[in-house]
Symmetry: D2
Subunit: 487 residues, 4 copies
Amino acid sequence: MALRTREQYLASLKAMRPNIYKFGERIDDITTHPATRRTVESHARAFDAANDPALAEIFTTVSSFTGEKIYRFNALMSSLEDTLFNMKLKRASYRRTGTCSGGTCVGWNALNVLWAITQEVDREHGTSYQDRLKNWILHAEEKGLVVAGALTDAKGDRSLKASQQPDPDCNLRVVEAKKDGIVVRGAKVMIAGAAASDEIFVVPGTSYGRDEKYYSIAFVVPKDVPGLTIVEARRASDGRELEEGFDIPETGITQGYLFFENVFVPNERVFLFGEYAYTGKFIQYFTANYRACIGACVAGQGDVMIGAAMLMARANGLPVKTFQNKLVEMAINNETTYGAGAGALALGRRHPAGVWLADPLAAHTNKVLVATLPYQTKRLCQDICGGIAETGCFPSYKDYSNPSYGRLIRKYLKAGQKVSAEARARAARLVEWLTLGAGVPGTMHGGGSPDGAKLVVRMETAFEEYAGYAARVAGIDDPVPEPERNR
Amino acid sequence: MALRTREQYLASLKAMRPNIYKFGERIDDITTHPATRRTVESHARAFDAANDPALAEIFTTVSSFTGEKIYRFNALMSSLEDTLFNMKLKRASYRRTGTCSGGTCVGWNALNVLWAITQEVDREHGTSYQDRLKNWILHAEEKGLVVAGALTDAKGDRSLKASQQPDPDCNLRVVEAKKDGIVVRGAKVMIAGAAASDEIFVVPGTSYGRDEKYYSIAFVVPKDVPGLTIVEARRASDGRELEEGFDIPETGITQGYLFFENVFVPNERVFLFGEYAYTGKFIQYFTANYRACIGACVAGQGDVMIGAAMLMARANGLPVKTFQNKLVEMAINNETTYGAGAGALALGRRHPAGVWLADPLAAHTNKVLVATLPYQTKRLCQDICGGIAETGCFPSYKDYSNPSYGRLIRKYLKAGQKVSAEARARAARLVEWLTLGAGVPGTMHGGGSPDGAKLVVRMETAFEEYAGYAARVAGIDDPVPEPERNR
Amino acid sequence: MALRTREQYLASLKAMRPNIYKFGERIDDITTHPATRRTVESHARAFDAANDPALAEIFTTVSSFTGEKIYRFNALMSSLEDTLFNMKLKRASYRRTGTCSGGTCVGWNALNVLWAITQEVDREHGTSYQDRLKNWILHAEEKGLVVAGALTDAKGDRSLKASQQPDPDCNLRVVEAKKDGIVVRGAKVMIAGAAASDEIFVVPGTSYGRDEKYYSIAFVVPKDVPGLTIVEARRASDGRELEEGFDIPETGITQGYLFFENVFVPNERVFLFGEYAYTGKFIQYFTANYRACIGACVAGQGDVMIGAAMLMARANGLPVKTFQNKLVEMAINNETTYGAGAGALALGRRHPAGVWLADPLAAHTNKVLVATLPYQTKRLCQDICGGIAETGCFPSYKDYSNPSYGRLIRKYLKAGQKVSAEARARAARLVEWLTLGAGVPGTMHGGGSPDGAKLVVRMETAFEEYAGYAARVAGIDDPVPEPERNR
Amino acid sequence: MALRTREQYLASLKAMRPNIYKFGERIDDITTHPATRRTVESHARAFDAANDPALAEIFTTVSSFTGEKIYRFNALMSSLEDTLFNMKLKRASYRRTGTCSGGTCVGWNALNVLWAITQEVDREHGTSYQDRLKNWILHAEEKGLVVAGALTDAKGDRSLKASQQPDPDCNLRVVEAKKDGIVVRGAKVMIAGAAASDEIFVVPGTSYGRDEKYYSIAFVVPKDVPGLTIVEARRASDGRELEEGFDIPETGITQGYLFFENVFVPNERVFLFGEYAYTGKFIQYFTANYRACIGACVAGQGDVMIGAAMLMARANGLPVKTFQNKLVEMAINNETTYGAGAGALALGRRHPAGVWLADPLAAHTNKVLVATLPYQTKRLCQDICGGIAETGCFPSYKDYSNPSYGRLIRKYLKAGQKVSAEARARAARLVEWLTLGAGVPGTMHGGGSPDGAKLVVRMETAFEEYAGYAARVAGIDDPVPEPERNR
């Protein structure tokens, strides 16, 4: 089985029904439209990797089902080593695109976690969800599919459960259960990489209860399934994607709003339906793996920030050594989220179904780091680069290349003697893009909020056991109970 | 003398020669062009303040020369109290515009600092710069002028002095000294508020030496002086300023690149020329005052971030109380830079010329805080607001109001039951604008870099004296010298 | 009137009734006993300052009542400048002793704040507390008294009010109101500098209510008043104070537990009794001034840490330059609390009674900084100094001077070629003392906790006003209310 | 083969030649002398663990040589899992003793790393160091030895190499090479757990060069080998160890200065001699493993700090919930160093000799975290616990139990109604011990300094590769070289 090529990937995207919109208009060819071609390019680079000796080991592997060579982002991860490769792939991907490639990430995690969940459900309830999933995985492996994953619902009023919302569509739900499939309605929002995907893996966005059986669903659909409308979200400085010139890089990410208006999903693509009791566990497994590995994403982007800061220093006429301490601080931030992510995997365990699950306490700890350290790294990057990069503070490409006064900009933009004005401009725009622009990935809330992660840390920490250790070291024999409530 | 009104201010801007460019085109009416009208609006609000009882005391005062009521941003600041009002004006201005109004800030500081410097020069050298300056201040007070200040030169290769640059224009310089004035060439870059200004106060951007007499100049010119071309810099998401709808607020800031191509400045508007020995002191006084007071800017913007976070919490359906700890952390950051700024003023002194000068050690310490704490405040703001605000992750106004599918966006954007979808959208866009967009002021490098500030801290700290204190407390009587260099 | 000398101060301490205990024994001469002589020495250095030209301006002033020269720590502070001198005195004092001198600090603040409070009470209720206070201040000024201040009560169960405690003595209270005075019982705990004081100024430790009239008291007593027993608290490594040699410096601080067992206080020394309604305001004024000025304490100690780190670097054979970045970071921490403290004063106001009051918002913000930054400064200091200083990790003076094996310690302790082994040892012990030992002042909770300070920040921040600013900038016209409680 | 029991361990310590000194005196029985019995108790608890079902898996394993059950701290670690157990042992040990047990840590790491190094040397040079080492390991496994590890030399002038020092003994060296062994002289300083050890594993403290063959040595000696004198270092508040009562816990750590005065080491115990070229690699392997695993130490102590803070909150009468956010922050710090340590192991590799080696970049990153985060954790602990714990601010046990006035202390120390005064006192003393006292381990500089770790991060980071990524994303095709030096 030959691996899908970049060209085949682009051709299949082109062939799909156009159902993606931005700025009030339908995008007819997402591979060339300026609003989407950058995210497609980012994903396409994953296909190039199969031919790059330095990357092939990271981006490809062998199917545990067929023994065939496949893209790693379609594979089950059945060992610590496999899962560490998830991190390596993310870091390599960020390093080569500067930003997120959601279509080689979330669907991949979803299929792995569901592999475990479906086995649990099948064993308890005699269902055969895992077989359905296996068939789909074989299909994905064979085609080398790019699969976005869709968790986050619109949610409505955050103080109410899904079943209590005035508008019941606020969370994606089954509106009709047919013999051969289900009909779903609702929205999944802020879905990274949907535009560049072949298919969308839809999973529960939260833990549901008894009254929310119709919300407790997992399934996969082609991106252009009838009834699905995708509207791309804005990103910082996304207007520049419509411009010519160097004011924005050639890679990028998009985040889509997916509107399901009575979309039919055939049974063989439904991997959970009604099993509300397993939604909590799904979230638990999913977030643990996701939040462990996301440390590689911010590390990879941080690597690019280090590189960008070096370029800017030189473009400003200063040796990199001047900023060595700050660059090392940046590196330490990167290696912290990367190392802590790897640690969360190492402290994990193999699920009986044969997939690797990260340790929740360590993984959610890493989420808090991921929500904190990149802000410091960005600040350090801006600190090194100077005012021109801090807020992208110089005229546009249109001005730069203006036949009348562009010469003035070019004259005064040149700083270091060995670096061209354009290289300085490009480096400064890169820093802006990484720290204030469309390249900033939503790592604070992507895959869930740090406050949610802290809640898990709280739940997973054995506080009373620790109080016991302290009492023993202090030589306190009597119990030290909580005070009674006096008021 | 009646104070200038908003209408008079706008009329005089309209009447000027159009010499401002952006996106490759000349802006013919800066008061209405979408690329500049927001910064004009920000500055115009300072004129409204004269009629607002809560603000009049802050925005107006009495001329120390004439006893007439004037705008405070044209006045000499001759006491601690006067200078604290500079901070209050900045904070009030940020609170009401969300961002920077450079035209009521930098020129004001420049005229005050030059008041001291010119007196020193005049006393030493028998010149009469201070008289010229006085005449101009009287003019500024009478007209209620908005005056941007221009320090930062293009600089060229940062490892070389101005006089060593391959291109001597890299720092603004006198190319011809005439009997009645000087002719200058060069660029001043990243000049905040130039578009909205009546005049531009040009001062040295660094400390110059004996070989740099022709760079050692201070003067003021009308914004539309012949030979001056202004090209506006980009800012994050500045493309949205050209769009309709709520994707960007109605206020704003611009930062211009000012190209001086043989501009003639008559002697009466030249306040320093050739006095290189005073440029270092000018920088010293200027940065101390500027870096003390800038604490109020970031505090004022931080206040708006607190408010925006509250709006978002409610729009998400959550009570503000949920985030009380984070909001207090944000407030503490704001009050830290505000308080430390006030402290730098309080520890300052009155210059013999009668203007107040901040304490350099405390002021440059505050600059380091200003370059650090707002990053934390922004992170906290994004943390509270959720993914929708973190990266502005929802569709554009054009999509929101699309007749075909806009209904889906509006349906799913509504979260809190008592808050409209549009209010949620506007609040989220505000957060994006403040933390990732065109509202982000360049406080890291604006007015100089934190590394420069640290250098001043290093110079102003009495390290050896401290070693002496330590030795005495430790009971060390013998000297503890630096080691000899062994290699 | 001649200022009291060091010798007179020591003589009067010697002459007092011995009522101080530590390690199970009564201390008969606190000026020579090793457990107390260091704190006495610290305070005695304030008297030396009157004769030191560099310090006389800081440590002495002129009485606003008599026009006589007095020690500043007995004076009313009636202007911003006066209050800034409080900060300067604290910093100078820390620089020269390495630690806290509570007897020249808390009583001073108490008398100033009570000057304002008594005037308010007298005007409202026709009492004459201020006259009594004035008489006592005249006495204090004349004698040059060292006056500790006692706020903190034992408190008992923190979840109950004073009037609800099972043991009513948990907060100091009047047990009998006589015609000529009051009889008090209870404990004031952790009182800095009591041992070195002539008198003790006792004030309310919290805001009291209607049921707590008998707790609402302020008065001053001689330290050896009948019925008062003082037991000194332990401090880190305080056992070393009983040893010989260089393992601990010659200065120090103590914190006493003051047990009042039916102490009689004559009316002329009672400045508040029963006026519960003013206790909150007392706390408010007191903490604002205290928490502004405490920024100078930690700055002064931080200065000594900088110096100690320099000595250690050199003693280790390394030039100070190696650690320049860290030293500047330390300096920035010091100047931050100092500057923010000065700012809190500058933003304050003069009370109608003629004393200066700090701005609460800025002052409590500074308390949070004071509870945070010194921990970073200590860490930096240990970082520079190496393992030998981090935990004081080398043998004792007794071992160092041991006739048999002391030679080995001395041989191997010498590091830098120009610095003696003993100087290295002393510098390392100083760092240990400052960062892990008896020199560490209780700045986290001294004068109240950072959580209490954050509560004030919360109360003093105009949150809803800020939400209004945000709404205006965002163009949100409709109200954005708190959500209703759904559950 | 039966595992050594606590009793056997204590008996063998008792039987050794007394060569340990503190406070100027020889310690004749280290198992009972108050200056050493606490560290012995800490180590003895490792022997108890063999009988504790919850700990046996952590503290024991099976010999890879003999297949016998042995103490894990004598075993080769040949897999990731084995090495993770090193971390688990450290955390468990800290939880049960509150502090460091160097004798089950450093020697263990040394034997593992030398296993790899000796194989490399033997293969290259035909030596048989590994056989010698194997014999010793078999002996250690059989006896269940506690083995301290000694790296740090006295060093002398840090700006000079060992071979350049005026006093050549500043680094431990061979003074005579005999046929049957070597004679060494010098000092190893700050050696944790030496007092409680059976043997001492001596290894190079730095990377040596061609001129330092006689410094390039590794060997192991019995703790009481002739010619070795050990003087214990001071620790904060170590004087309390000589006192009675609850002012200090019953566990502890010591750090000794080891003076080698012509100590003879027979060849079979010499594992490296003269192989200077391998000293750098030894340091590299050793520090990577050590700095990965040390994350477990500070996590384990942090667990006890969490517990201690809970006890104090309750003893103060407050529910733990009040401080939930801070406790979670503490937990996140603990899990960060633990997770990042585990990550450094997971990213490591198996050496051809069969031992596991941590990834240097990730391990040294963790060292920086270990030198930083515990300071925050301590601050949070003090923040929660209040003034009484911050500086241990209450009277001594002698005062507490004084027959005359002790009743007053006991009366006023009681706070929470359900917790005794003594429990409150013990909890407060524990916090003092952990944050300011003898329980503070030297994690900043122990096993090397954070600055050294940063140097490794700098060396291991592929900076130029990152600049390449940035250039590619920015679309910069031309090289961006370092500027030429202009001056």
